[in-house]
């Protein structure tokens, strides 16, 4: 097959495959040159600046002359709380909850302010893992765009009032027979549900309408029909040897990604090469998702073909099981063949397989349930013991509400944790209907499209200021406790509702009324359900300390009672259109719930690697010889992607036009395009306003009332100009392959340099080691090859003037030598580590324009490489950070020795010594060093050096600066920075061990990326300690070192990526 590529050939983008020299030139230029003239209005000096310069000179002269010491204060507590020791972090167990998104967390606070999220390993749901969304929650606490207090909204304008006034106004317009609707996203809190019940008791004509920003409504309906339970069952990906997922992005966004990622990785990690065993994963989808990119086989079907694909798999299994088949539309041949193979695998692993489906079509979900039933998976890999409650929304309900509002049968609507005026597919219809309601109140703490339409805003506390509980899975309880006093004049929504309901159970005289209410609820409902603690106080204290309270349920027996034939009639029918669009939820910003969080906006989308925008993902096609292009109507688009420019396409979907920038996306199916949800917010925190295109109006609603995340009526009207592309895919590349001009030969770019410029450096002529990968059946052969390769590299490395062995003997062999191990098989590319690193190390946010200029500051990036079939490749993610080389090329070239080596093997960076020559970044083979081109943290005197991110100088505000980690220096303009292996944590861990007078152990030092990882892909520790986990990981025969042949002696080892592909399928 022509599409097959040779061994170890990986690529990152089209240009690399299409072009040689041009691309190479572009990637070798580390930073994009943008003419200074573009920036000219920023550069112009105005009168105020002139005065500042004058003032500065005068000030400098005065300081130099008189040297008056400015008085600094040391402010102690008046009454110091016992649990706080200034300078020492305190951790509180809590939960990250946003609608149905859940993660058990520990909140790290310093002097009473939350600064970092860690996973709570006591939770059996998330097991200590976190997500990027959970990591970023601390920044949203200090958002300056939050409502300062309750307010009245008039024509979208907010006027602050008092709580008394809002209470009076709301209670004044409510009467006992008011028809109230409370519109929520999934409510995970059992106590909040009781609050809603109490409200209903006071206002009996109250309806609670729940929907999810990205719906799983059909899944719930199907389970209700098939098993009589309106829940998401308890999936066990760790028990499944064969996984087939129909468009369910269970590693990225679907239901409970942190939980599923941990389970999934558990069955994908290879401990013993000779007895290697791992699951096989088929993903059926059109647009690449995070889950799809990790799959062994991706089965490409158009969005409208999903139903046909599910029916096809159903029929294959039914034939094997001797059950009647259903009538199924035709699915494309390639997909049919793969599905046949999937059916074989599933059947061979009955009871150890799992089929999940992420579409929002009830018929399809019933069919998938039927497939799992035929495979005997219920009770094995799917269980109704402790089912998940993380999606509870029902799409038809909210559509009914719109009708009711239109007919005038709703007197008041309270919006809680939802933003229907943006999130709904028919948000405009909602807005129209909403206007007809007399009393509209939103509890949102942040301005959004819905608050703009409300009469009052009764802002609730931020999560980190709230009391609460959560029940992500039935019987699995989790508490939320405040870690800071409310920053603004907000009031928890539960309390607001109870006050309006005049609940006798709420003691409004109490200091924290809802806390008392919550405690009472737990005493009444939870305490009797356990036997471990004799008194409630003990139980409460321990639950609060642990953060979780879990009750295992017995496996219930369930019987499938779905109507398969009726379901088959309901499935989506393949459309005849030329082009279809799939709308996808991104890992970082969901359907807009996280759009105004700068950390998440700056986190590259793992799939298209773009930041601060949603790009139209168009497929890459290959002519079988040497030419790559965009598919169909997009032919000729994005020819300058590697220069940082995209083309914009004018598209028309179902009669609604828009202009969207395009990104070429490997793995996007021909005849389809993809677009992310969650962008194009019009009312939000500053970071999220008018970024990208809102895709929600293009969503459709099916006959069951469920929202559909695709559209088959797509027209491309043409190009609409160039676009500055903030994509990190071509930034900081290292030794990637390219093509010789005029030839098909795939060569190393450095090799090209050597042959054209006739000079080069050691290591340039070898096939550089960046990604090493294998397929499971050939693992033994691969290990032999890898050994040989590493022997060769070691031989090369021995030919050196650098006295590595001597240093090793003299310095590195005693005390500590820090090292890291990254299992590429466990890394799913979710990006939690990237955000954790930003939070831990005060890494600044730079914004779209700066990223376009290659100026992103991320210390840890996740590189994405493709391999295999050009049109449907496999993906491997590689977290890349400073490798802490023992023979570091950056150190030798620093003229001021600002970067040098420690005896513990750390590549140290002394910011205050750095003069900004950037030689080190130039000489770093891994391209992990970052330069502060501008004053990203706004510590400077002159606004000209400051950087605005979407119209906001984020860190200029003292409120936002509260998120900074006080143990890490805030770097100023003009200095280089990079990953430090979280040296502040190393030092802290060492100190703990010293103070306790014992040897340092693994748990003393864990890096931020390591603790954030949901799958445990990252191991860190002291490689001199024989008992350390990292030493154990270092023993694997699958390990390799990136660019080992260049002899820089890195301290990071990677474990090769292994897939479990059926070889004949490719």
């Amino acid at each position: 097959m022509e599409n097959k590529t040779k061994k170890n050939h990986t690529w990152i983008g089209v240009d690399q495959l299409n072009k040689g020299a041009e691309f190479q030139e572009a990637v070798e230029r580390e930073f994009q040159d943008v003419p200074l003239a573009d920036n000219v209005e920023k550069l112009a000096t105005n009168r105020r600046d002139f005065l500042k310069y004058l003032g500065f000179s005068l000030g400098a002269a005065t300081v130099a002359a008189s040297c008056d010491i400015p008085v600094k204060r040391a402010i102690p507590y008046v009454v110091k709380p016992d649990e706080i020791v200034p300078g020492v972090a305190t951790y509180y167990a809590s939960s990250f909850v946003n609608g149905g998104d859940y993660c058990a967390v520990l909140v790290k606070t310093r002097e009473g302010r939350p600064i970092k999220i860690e996973g709570n390993s006591l939770s059996s749901v998330t097991g200590g893992g976190t997500s990027a969304r959970a990591q970023a929650v601390v920044l949203s606490l200090y958002d300056t765009n939050r409502f300062p207090g309750p307010g009245k909204m008039e024509n979208g304008r907010f006027t602050q009032t008092s709580w008394a006034e809002v209470d009076k106004a709301v209670k004044g317009s409510l009467s006992a027979n008011s028809r109230v609707a409370i519109l929520t996203s999934t409510v995970l809190s059992p106590t909040a549900k009781k609050v809603l019940e109490e409200f209903k008791a006071a206002y009996p004509d109250t309806k609670v309408v729940t929907y999810d920003p990205v719906s799983a409504s059909a899944l719930l309906q199907a389970n209700e029909e098939c098993f009589g339970q309106r829940v998401v069952p308890n999936y066990r990906f760790d028990r499944a040897d064969v996984i087939v997922s129909f468009a369910a992005d269970f590693l990225g966004t679907w239901i409970s990604p942190v939980e599923y990622a941990r389970q999934y990785a558990a069955n994908r990690k290879i401990e013993d090469v000779h007895k290697a065993k791992m699951s096989r994963h088929y993903q059926v989808e059109a647009a690449m998702t995070l889950t799809g990119s990790n799959a062994d086989h991706r089965v490409l079907v158009k969005p409208s073909e999903q139903g046909a694909a599910i029916a096809a798999l159903y029929n294959e299994i039914a034939r094997k099981a001797g059950k009647p088949t259903v009538s199924a539309p035709r699915v494309n041949d390639k997909a049919a063949a793969l599905l046949k193979q999937a059916a074989e695998d599933l059947w061979a692993n009955r009871g150890k397989s799992l089929v999940v489906c992420g579409t929002n079509n009830k018929g399809e979900q019933v069919l998938v349930n039927a497939i799992n039933d035929m495979l005997g998976n219920y009770g094995q890999t799917i269980s109704f013991a402790n089912p998940s409650l993380q999606r509870q929304g029902n799409d038809p309900d909210v559509q009914q509400l719109i009708k009711d509002m239109n007919s005038g049968s709703v007197d008041a609507v309270f919006v809680w944790g939802a933003n229907p005026a943006y999130e709904l597919p028919n948000a405009e219809a909602f807005a129209e209907a909403f206007k007809k309601v007399k009393l509209k109140v939103s509890f949102s703490g942040m301005p959004n499209e819905t608050t703009a339409l409300c009469d009052y805003v009764a802002p609730t506390h931020h999560l980190l200021e709230s009391w609460g509980d959560a029940e992500p899975k039935r019987g699995m309880y989790s508490l939320i406790q405040p870690t800071i006093a409310p920053l603004f004049d907000t009031r928890q929504a539960e309390e607001t509702l109870l006050r309006w309901a005049e609940s006798p159970n709420l003691n409004i005289e109490a200091e924290q009324p809802y806390y008392e209410y919550l405690k009472a609820a737990w005493e009444r409902d939870m305490f009797p359900r356990q036997t471990k603690y004799a008194t409630f106080q003990n139980f409460w204290d321990m639950s609060l300390h642990d953060g979780v309270f879990e009750l295992e349920e017995q496996e219930p027996s369930v019987a499938f009672a779905g109507d398969v034939q009726a379901a088959a009639a309901k499935i989506t029918k393949p459309a005849n259109s030329e082009l279809e669009i799939q709308f996808v939820e991104t890992v970082h910003i969901g359907n807009g719930q996280y759009t105004d969080n700068p950390w998440l906006m700056e986190m590259p989308d793992p799939i298209n690697r773009c930041v601060w925008d949603n790009y139209l993902m168009v497929p890459v096609v290959f002519d079988g010889h040497r030419h790559f292009d965009c598919d169909g109507p997009f032919a000729g688009f994005n020819q300058e992607e590697f220069y940082g420019y995209a083309d914009q396409a004018e598209i028309e979907i179902a009669g609604r036009k828009a202009v969207v920038p395009v990104v070429r996306q490997f793995g996007q199916m021909r005849g389809t395009v993809g677009l992310a949800l969650g962008y194009g917010r019009t009312v939000a925190g500053k970071a999220g306003v008018n970024v990208g295109v809102n895709a929600n109006p293009w969503l459709t609603i099916d006959a069951d009332g469920n929202t559909q995340y695709f559209n088959t009526d797509v027209k491309v009207l043409g190009k609409a100009g160039k676009y500055e592309m903030a994509s990190v895919q071509y930034h900081h590349t290292m030794g990637v392959t390219g093509k010789l001009e005029g030839s098909d030969e795939v060569i190393n770019v450095d090799e090209q340099a050597v042959t054209t410029i006739k000079e080069g450096y050691q290591g340039a002529l070898v096939d550089r080691t960046i990604i090493r990968r294998a397929n499971l059946p050939e693992l033994d052969k691969f290990v032999e090859e890898l050994k040989e390769e590493r022997r060769e590299a070691e031989h090369l490395n021995q030919q050196t003037l650098y006295p590595y062995e001597e240093y090793k003997e003299k310095y590195y062999s005693q005390g500590h030598h820090w090292g890291m191990h990254i299992d590429l098989n466990a890394c799913i590319g979710c990006g939690a580590c990237e955000v954790a690193c930003m939070a831990e190390n005060n890494v600044p946010v730079v914004g779209k324009y700066e990223v376009f200029r290659h100026h992103e500051m991320t210390w840890l990036r996740i590189d994405r490489y493709f391999y295999g079939d050009y049109e449907n490749p496999n993906v491997v993610y590689q977290p890349m950070m400073c490798q802490h080389c023992d023979n570091a090329p950056c150190e030798n070239v620093c003229p001021v020795s600002a970067t040098n080596h420690s005896s513990e093997g750390l590549n140290q960076m002394a910011y205050n010594r750095c003069i900004g020559t950037r030689y080190c970044a130039n000489n770093c083979p891994y391209k992990v060093r970052r330069f502060n081109w501008l004053d990203y943290t706004t510590a400077d005197l002159f606004p000209i050096n400051e950087n605005e991110v979407n119209g906001e100088a984020i860190y200029a505000d003292n409120l936002v600066r509260m998120v900074l980690n006080p143990d890490v220096t805030v770097r100023e303009r003009g200095v280089m920075e990079k990953c430090s292996f979280c040296v502040q944590r190393i030092q802290e861990g060492k100190l703990t061990a010293k103070r306790e007078g014992r040897k340092l152990e693994d748990h003393d030092v864990k890096t931020a990326c390591q603790t954030a990882c949901p799958t445990g892909a990252i191991t860190f520790g002291d490689t001199n300690n024989e008992k350390s986990a990292v030493r154990k990981q270092y023993e694997s025969e699958l390990n390799y070192i990136v660019l080992e042949e260049i002899g820089v002696r890195p301290s990071v080892q990677y474990k090769a990526r292994v897939t479990n592909k059926v070889e004949e399928l490719g």
Binding site: V63, A64, C67, I69, V71, K72, R73, A74, I75, P76, Y77, V78, V79, K80, V85, P86, G87, V88, S813, Q814, G815, H816, N900, S902, S903, E904, L906, Q908, M909, A910, Y911, N912, R913, D967, V968, T969, V970, S980, V983, Q984, Q987, K990, L991, A993, K994, R995, G997, R998, K999, L1000, D1022, N1024, N1025
Partner: protein
């Protein structure tokens, strides 16, 4: 019970001690010291001779000798209970010391109490130290910087004179030579020599070098504040607290052992003692009232004021002026004009001390002035130095127990840090942590190495302090 001569006292005590062995096993002075430090030292003076919050404890056993030993145990564990029972000695003490209530220590065993008593006795009877504690030792460790300026200046002057003389001689000789050879010659005057090209260029050169040297040195000194001794909002005297009363540094600066910060104590820490000691020995009500006004404690009623946060400045003024006035009257008999002036002055001072440009209210934190300012890019941990390195506070902070007003003792420059790291020996043998430096341990065992300094284990590397 009255004191007799020391000899008799010791003899009687020995007898008593012999008797006590029937109550408990042999007492351990060291254990007693620890117990005393943890439980008693906050209120009872460590010299056992002077009263503090609580009475001096020296001779306590003797004072209780008339009663069963158990009574003393009971007294220490729960004094109020014994008072309530009407125990004569207990009531006597209560009358003397009320309303100060002694804390309860129900967890102390008889043996613990015996240990404490033994320590009290040991401390009370031991001979006073001749040297001034840690001060003498630490100051001597700082090498006396000998001042060479005078010597250099003298040499410089001598050399300059010598150069001038030589120049004169050369000029004269030249003149004589020229005169002998019959050439027209002019004798060079001193002025000629001084304004000659050579001298002028030398002077310019010297000025540039000297100026450059000074500029660089001064630039390095920028931001350094050795000797910085700002006025503090409260005239807190370390000499009184740490010197005279020997309160352990870490009683107030309790972060030093476990945090990077040593911690300026919260006002409630002050109140642990100053609820009992309401007037200072030096300033009377003038300084201590500031603490009360910060935290909201009314010394007249011995109560914390409810909703202190809500009070207006006038209401606060009323409360504390009353206290100051009452005390003035108590001391001086009547309130004269001078007294009124004094009270007004004290109050104004309180307001001034507790407010800043940014803090307009009296209530709340005391705005101490920070003396030791490290740059933001320096990470320093007290815990590392105090708990692990076991370094005396005085090593960096100087004779703090002699300072009325604290001044920055050390330069806090990087060179100063690094020099110490080069010299200081690591507590290598007694801390299991350092076991990972196996080779150094071997070298010590083999006699190849006599010590391991902080530098030897990487203590001068950049990222030990800069990250």
């Amino acid at each position: 019970m009255s004191y007799k001569s020391l000899t008799i006292w010791i003899l009687s005590l020995m007898v008593a001690l012999g008797a006590t062995t029937t109550h408990a096993q042999e007492a351990d002075i060291e254990a007693g010291k620890t117990l005393f430090k943890n439980h008693c030292a906050a209120c009872h003076n460590r010299n056992m001779k002077d009263d503090l919050t609580g009475p001096a404890l020296g001779g306590v056993e003797e004072r209780w000798a008339d009663y069963p030993r158990e009574d003393l145990y009971e007294w220490i564990r729960n004094s109020q209970a014994l008072i309530a029972q009407g125990h004569p000695r207990a009531v006597e003490l209560w009358n003397q010391w009320k309303p100060t209530v002694m804390n309860n220590f129900p967890n102390l065993t008889d043996q613990d109490i015996e240990n404490i008593l033994a320590y009290i006795h040991y401390e009370y009877t031991k001979k006073p130290e001749v040297a001034q504690g840690p001060t003498g030792e630490t100051t001597s460790t700082q090498p006396q910087a000998s001042d060479n300026t005078f010597l250099i200046a003298t040499i410089f002057v001598i050399l300059a004179v010598l150069a001038l003389v030589l120049a004169r001689i050369v000029a004269n000789l030249n003149y004589m030579m020229a005169a002998r050879e019959g050439q027209p010659a002019e004798r060079k005057t001193l002025m000629d020599i001084l304004t000659s090209k050579g001298v002028v260029s030398f002077v310019i050169f010297a000025l540039v070098v000297l100026g450059g040297y000074t500029t660089v040195n001064r630039a390095i000194m920028l931001g350094r504040q050795q000797g910085y001794q700002p006025d503090q909002p409260i005239k807190f005297s370390h000499a009184t607290h740490a010197g005279l009363h020997k309160i352990d540094c870490q009683y107030c600066h309790d972060g030093a052992r476990r945090s990077k910060h040593s911690i300026i104590p919260a006002a409630n820490t002050c109140m642990n003692c100053h609820r009992a000691i309401k007037k200072g020995s030096k300033y009377g009500t003038a300084e201590l009232t500031k603490i009360f006004a910060s935290i909201g404690y009314d010394p007249s009623t011995d109560k914390y004021i409810e909703d202190y946060d809500q009070l207006s400045q006038e209401e606060i003024e009323k409360i504390y002026k009353k206290w100051i006035t009452d005390e003035y009257v108590k001391d001086n008999g009547t309130l004269d004009a001078e007294g009124e002036l004094e009270i007004e002055e004290q109050w104004e001072n309180i307001v001034k001390s507790l407010t800043t440009e940014t803090k307009t209210r009296i209530q709340g934190e005391i705005p101490w002035v920070r003396i030791h300012n490290l740059p933001d890019h320096v990470f320093f941990s007290h815990a590392q130095h105090v708990s692990v390195g076991k370094i005396e506070c005085q090593k960096c902070h100087g004779p703090i127990e002699e300072m009325e007003v604290v001044a920055q003792y050390a330069p806090l420059s990087m060179g100063w840090c690094v020099n110490c790291h080069r010299k200081t020996e690591v507590k290598f043998a007694d801390n299991e942590y350092y076991k990972s430096y196996a080779r150094m341990h071997e070298e010590i065992a083999a006699g190849k190495r006599d010590k391991v300094t902080v530098e030897d284990i990487g203590g001068t590397e950049c990222q030990k302090c800069h990250y």
